[in-house]
Amino acid sequence: MTLVASLLVAALVGAGVYQLFRKSAFEVLLGLLLISQAVNLAILAAGGWTAGTLPPVTAEPVVDTVGGTAAKVSRVDPALYVDPLPHALILTAIVIGFGVFSFLMVLIARGRETSSTLALGEPGPGEGKG
């Protein structure tokens, strides 16, 4: 599984980086989207893959009642579950990425409206110094 995921990460990153070298802002946007997908997958894969573990939703019968009182104490065995931390990190990354990409899209659309080109940051004949 790790191998498969790593290969996919490599493919996505490669395609994404290549897209970055295109002139059009739209193509660069696609590249960035690909890279962000790849990074999310990489973080998840780096958390490791072990067959047989459970999703990080702890099962209900994990409770001990101490001395007959209502106080409940957890007896969850962390080894049974996958690591929840990468999930939380990636969830955050997806949502923030969504916000940032929306902003980028609007920026591109506005740029197209005002300058009638999608070309990014290559010096024209008159500029290029300073």
């Binding site: 790790t2 493919a11 893959w49 990080p56 609007v106 506005r110 110094k129």
Partner: protein
């Protein structure tokens, strides 16, 4: 319970209230609000004053970060009490005056809110006991001053003046911060440990003064004080600041803000007053500033500029007074009466600036060369101005006379100073006072007496109403008959200062001359010489013409900020940044490949992960289809096809999330991909679906090489990280990782009574509980992104939604928001568009039904989220997705009507809700964002759990819904 925080909050609340007022109220409502909050603050101050006890001044203390001595500490010791009255008293007069002076159409919201924010910041400077807090408020005064100077932002001179003031006072502020840091360093090396509190600083004054770094701390703080109080060589920003509306000049640049430096000098005098540097810097700088300011004021013809230079001069006088305190520390004498000087100047100068505004108001000019004979038309204005000038010149019977006498006494009897220095400063001060006399005569005589210099102006001139004259009268009239009340005031004022610094019980009485002595002769000589200079102004003018007028330090500032820094910045930018974006990208990517790839080269590849099984086979198939989709992104010429490929890649990644047992992730990913896909399609429509460009061979080869290198490194790094045996090392060694802690304590604590999140879905509990602060930061980032989108939309005036057009209904909707079927008619049809004509009614109705259904699912996911996959993010995204079919199937106007503008109030509401939940915990004395959960027993349903984290999650939900709507709506509007 002290009311200090309430008093300090009043101006800030006033600023917020002004901002929130409905548009309909106009300038009057804003004026009334500002005045009401100022008076409320004054009320709290009066309350605190009534029961004021010098031995135990009111204090408010909230420990914030005790280990680095940060605290929210307010106090009202003697000087703070005096300054608070000064700020709020004059503040009330200024707000009143503004109500009559400012043009109602002149952005009243911006004006009054900035003014109130400044008032709060200035009040904060003087009532902060913690030095860091004082510094924060100090900077806030610089920023609000910047806003107020640039109020008339259409004037380039106003922008330049505001910028100059901000840069100079901001630089000084940084020096002050460094000075505070050095002071803290000195203290933390002492036996008592570090502190940031004024009281403790004074108590350990000897220790500080003896430290080798004392001079450094003093110098840095002096730069802070001198920039703020416009002392040489930083004085040049103050005349430029006169571009501000006159009430602002009266308040900030005469009465209060420029005196913050004076305030600071008063506060550090007990610590550094005996320092050698104090002796050689403070007095000379003060007298030099007096001379420069006076010299420039004589020949100014704009009355406001004249007053600005005179302010520079008189701030120099007060600074010099502190300078004369060098070597007298501990005698309890001198500084008991510094507050008299401050009060005297604040009264007459604040009042005179207002009078200058009155003259401007009545004649539409401030140039005395165009005025004359005005006393016939503006008698009250003339009388008040003349009284103010008499006080400024220090004529007998006025407050200014008392202040001048104090000053010259201190100068003449300056023991502990070298004789030459004492005499030189005394002579300089006398000369500067002659200038003062001359420009006071200018202001008092030229506009009001003689024949009108310009008949048109004179004919037009009219007296101001009582409303406008009230505020300056309140300030100027008390300076009369000072002989009666100042001696009464001097003792309590002296005690105010004394209580703070010294145990010495000093009794200082000041008053008018009682006998003819040396000082009397000096005063008479000053009056006479000043009159001489006044009549010889022409000669002075010619002299200045020859010497060159602009202050040399202004030239220095221009060289530094307008030439040198931009030059450095452009050189530095040219050095680090290549003009070609591609080139920069290549450098970054290559750097990544090398920096990450190099260490990977030596690491062994762990083969243990080559496991097989049905899941792996399935994953392989998924990966293959992902590669195929990737091909769809890269190869076809059609942009729509590539966007579809993009969406497919995203969906397949969500399949991987399922393999990795991340249900929350998979849900989120699917939803985000859906919305992004729709947005990309709309974007394509906006930018005209560009066909794929071909990459030139010269670029393609290196680009491909770099891409392959980066890809290899990324894949290898992922594989290595995932299969590294070190990954589990801490667990094997018996050290629980964060993840293990989160898993074990998600629902119930492992140790009885300890904290736990109260939910079974560990990912959700991490987001809303364990790492709630991170999530709060995250949704704030989202809010900023939405703000960016909204701002980008705003400028597109031609596409702004016009309600009048929406009323015309769908028939008139036209081309505003309709995807044009292009090479992929099938997709647009599926999304709800017929090939010809507008959206079909059937799809729209269907969209409504779908939306209701999807919203129901979102509701379930939200409530399930704490214990099962779901939660605020996912429910929020899903709710927004529910709207997407509706957007696609309706016209622009229909959508605009369905999402009224106030729906975007969801965003701030959600943010406040999430933050507010965290604050509730603080009310119970728990750290910010501590969550709690309770079990409620309900009939039928049994035991129901309510977690406070759920309310936090609700905030997250609201923010996500609001933002997705803004973003999608933004696209609809493009």
């Amino acid at each position: 319970m002290t009311t200090l925080p309430l008093m300090l909050a009043m101006p800030f609340l006033g600023a917020a209230a002004v901002l929130l007022l409905p548009q309909a109220g106009g300038a009057k409502a804003r004026f009334a609000t500002a005045l009401a909050f100022t008076l409320a603050a004054l009320g709290f101050l009066a309350h605190a004053t009534l029961g004021w006890d010098p031995a135990a001044p009111p204090r408010f203390d909230y420990p914030w970060h005790p280990s680095i001595h940060l605290s929210v500490s307010l106090w009202l010791d003697g000087p703070a009490l005096f300054w608070a009255w000064l700020v709020l008293g004059i503040g009330a007069c200024v707000v009143w005056y503004s109500g009559f002076y400012m043009d109602p159409g002149d952005s009243p919201t911006r004006f009054y809110s900035s003014l109130m924010a400044f008032m709060g910041a200035m009040l904060g400077v003087v009532v902060s006991e913690n030095l860091v807090m004082m510094f924060v408020f100090w900077e806030a005064t610089s920023i609000t001053s910047f806003l107020l100077i640039g109020h008339w932002s259409h004037k380039p001179s106003a922008i330049a003046g505001a910028r100059r003031a901000l840069l100079v006072t901001g630089t000084g502020g940084l020096c002050l911060m460094a000075g505070i840091a050095v002071l803290h360093l000195i203290l933390s090396q002492g036996p008592g440990g570090g502190t940031m509190m004024w009281g403790e600083v004074w108590a350990r004054a000897d220790e500080i003064a003896a430290h080798p770094l004392a001079g450094t701390a003093l110098l840095l703080m002096l730069v802070g004080a001198f920039t703020k109080s416009a002392q040489f060589p930083f004085h040049f920003w103050l005349p430029g600041a006169m571009e501000a509306p006159t009430p602002v000049s009266a308040f900030l640049h005469a009465a209060t803000m420029v005196k913050a430096g004076i305030y600071l000098l008063g506060r550090i005098y007990p610590v550094f007053g005996g320092h050698e540097l104090w002796l050689w810097i403070v007095g000379p700088v003060g007298v030099l500033t007096m001379l420069i300011g006076g010299w420039m004021a004589i020949t100014a013809y704009d009355i406001k500029q004249l007053l600005a230079f005179s302010t520079v001069s008189q701030l120099g006088l007060i600074v010099a007074y502190y300078g004369f305190g060098a070597g007298r520390l501990g005698t309890g004498g001198l500084l008991t009466l510094d507050l008299l000087l401050v009060l005297s100047h604040a009264l007459f100068k604040g009042g005179l600036f207002m009078m200058c505004g009155v003259i401007d108001h009545g004649t539409h000019t401030r140039d005395w060369r165009r005025l004359g004979g005005l006393w016939r038309k503006m008698p009250a204005t003339a009388a008040l101005t003349i009284i103010g000038c008499a006080s400024m010149a220090g004529l007998p019977l006025t407050f200014g006379f008392v202040a001048k006498k104090l000053f010259f006494d201190a100068s003449w009897h300056w023991e502990g100073a070298p004789g030459a220095l004492r005499l030189a400063l005394f002579a300089g001060a006398v000369l500067a006072s002659c200038f003062t006399m001359a420009y006071c005569l200018r202001v008092a005589i030229s506009p009001f007496f003689g024949e009108p210099r310009e008949q048109g102006v004179f004919d037009h001139a009219h007296e101001a109403g009582p409303g406008l004259l009230l505020a300056p009268a309140l300030l100027i009239l008390p300076t009369l008959a000072a002989g009666l009340w100042v001696p009464m005031l001097s003792e309590p004022l002296g005690r105010l200062a004394n209580a703070a610094y010294y145990a010495v019980d000093a009794h200082y009485k000041v008053g008018m001359f009682k006998k003819v002595d040396f000082m009397f002769a000096v005063s008479m000589a000053i009056y006479a010489a000043g009159a001489g200079v006044f009549f010889g102004t022409g000669a002075v003018d010619r002299l200045q013409e020859r010497a060159g007028r602009p202050a040399p330090t202004l030239r220095g500032y221009e060289l530094l900020f307008d030439s040198f820094f931009p030059w450095v910045a452009s050189k530095a930018a040219a050095f680090v940044a290549h003009p070609s974006l591609r080139f920069n990208m290549a450098v970054l990517a290559a750097f990544f490949a090398l920096a990450v790839g190099w260490p990977l080269l030596g690491s062994p590849i762990n083969a243990a992960e080559f496991e097989a099984g049905p899941a792996v086979l399935l994953a392989g198939l998924l990966a293959a289809s992902a590669l195929a989709s990737l091909g769809l992104v890269l190869v076809p010429r059609s942009a729509v096809a590539r966007v579809i490929g993009m969406g497919l890649v995203g969906l397949i990644i969500s399949g991987f999330f399922i393999f990795y047992k991340a249900p929350d992730l998979a849900l989120t990913q699917v939803l985000v991909e859906l919305v992004v896909l729709v947005m990309l399609l709309i974007l394509l429509k906006r930018i005209g679906a560009p066909p794929r460009e071909t990459v030139r061979a010269a670029v393609a080869a290196p680009a491909a090489a770099i891409a392959v290198a980066v890809a290899l490194v990324a894949g290898l790094a992922t594989y290595n990280a995932a299969s590294s045996p070190d990954r589990l090392a801490p667990v094997l060694a018996g050290n629980p990782t964060h993840s293990a802690y989160y898993l074990a304590n998600s629902k119930y604590p492992t140790v009885e009574g300890a904290h736990s999140g109260g939910g079974n879905n560990v990912v959700n509990v991490i987001l809303v509980d364990f790492r709630g602060l991170d999530t709060l930061g995250e949704i704030t980032v989202l809010v900023l992104a939405a703000l960016g989108v909204a701002l980008l939309m705003r400028d597109g005036g031609h596409r702004e939604f016009d309600p009048s057009r929406a009323q015309r209904g769908p028939a008139a909707s036209g081309d505003e928001f309709r995807l044009r079927p292009s090479s992929f008619p099938f997709i647009y049809n599926t999304l709800g568009y017929r090939v010809r004509g507008g959206p079909s009614i059937v799809t729209r109705e269907l969209a409504n039904i779908i939306a209701v259904f999807v919203l129901g699912v979102a509701l379930v996911l939200f409530f399930a989220g704490h214990n099962a996959p779901g939660g605020g993010f996912i429910a929020g995204l899903l709710s927004a997705v529910a709207v997407v079919p509706f957007i696609l199937s309706s016209t622009h106007e229909q959508y605009e009507r369905a999402t009224p503008h106030h729906i975007f109030g969801l965003i701030p509401a959600g943010l406040l809700f999430a933050g507010g939940t965290g604050l509730v915990a603080m009310f119970f004395g728990l750290p910010f964002l501590t969550s709690e959960f309770w079990y409620v027993h309900l009939p039928l349903l049994g035991e129901i759990e309510i977690a406070s984290a759920m309310f936090f999650d609700l905030g997250v939900y609201l923010v996500v819904v609001g933002i997705t709507l803004v973003l999608v709506k933004g696209f609809g509007r493009l």
